[in-house]
Subunit: 182 residues, 2 copies
């Protein structure tokens, strides 16, 4: 079950650089795209996502300026890759991939029930969209499914292979300058 | 040994979102910073890196517009975290952390011999530096140490813990739309 998650800690879902799902919606038609070109920009969180003009979500995101960034775990890994290999122009992705939309609180696009975490976002800057497809968005509400047993996320290698989270190493004792984040 | 790597494939080092090292140089003084806020912007590769005005490298990178992005593996993981917890203003990082600078071919900052890969970069756009600390850079030469046995990279969780690459999953058969990258 998705429960509210402290917004100021939501950057931790993005910082490791996992494959993410980006949910948009227009005229009551939600769509999902798979994306691995993203970065944190600030801790609020502010997030940068790079889309291509060829992506069905590109113009919708520019027009609506709202999205949900969902963090998938490996239990839906194959679906995530399949979502990235078809287009919302002719595919109802929630239906086709048997994913459950949940009404978001502050934006029109829905959360994805099966994701580990969801961040409701508003696009705050489109000045770099024409040049680089780079959308700057701010997370305004975050959700996390603490009951989900599968917590492993995964990263794209860019060649159809994906690397799954392995061991976590605790190096907090070396973070002498950044104690504030520990 | 670092050997030349095809530039058009170098995006694969950045796409998984690993912790990276950013090497700058001014007045023959090379410096290294640790960074985990980065993303691919294009395949050339064009890479976006977010620095803070408080980072010693920030003004140097803006002035010199050159850097090397080095991809560390877990054999130097502790050094990478330590590099991110001190400042080039009072620390010679190559010397302090016993890393070996190698002369780059197209930029002033050196490669790091102990890294798995190095990408020589030119900053091509600073229009978003004031607003977000976001430097847009283009890779112009790439190097890879194929003889290095340790190839595992790692990702920052943002709290002093780091997740190490685990199993690689091959889902190339699902990449029906993106065969060109396989």
């Amino acid at each position: 079950m998705n429960c509210e998650f402290p917004l100021h800690k939501a950057f931790k879902f993005i910082e490791p650089g996992p494959v993410i799902l980006l949910v948009t919606s227009e005229n009551d038609k939600p769509n999902i795209m798979t994306l691995s070109w993203s970065t944190l920009i600030d801790f609020n969180p502010v997030i940068g996502c790079v889309l291509s003009p060829g992506d069905y979500s590109y113009e919708i995101l520019r027009r609506t300026k709202e999205c949900v960034i969902a963090i998938p775990a490996i239990d839906i890994m194959e679906k995530v890759v399949q979502i990235g290999n078809c287009s919302g122009s002719d595919t109802n992705k929630f239906k086709t991939f048997d994913l459950t939309p949940i009404k978001a609180q502050k934006v029109e696009p829905p959360l994805i029930k099966e994701a580990l975490a969801n961040i409701e976002c508003k696009v705050i800057d489109v000045d770099f969209v024409d040049r680089y497809g780079l959308f700057i968005m701010e997370g305004i509400k975050a959700w996390y499914d603490a009951e989900k047993t599968e917590k492993c996320t995964f990263h794209a290698n860019g060649d159809g292979t994906f690397v799954i989270d392995g061991e976590t190493k605790n190096l907090k004792d070396l973070m002498i300058k950044w104690q504030i984040f520990i």
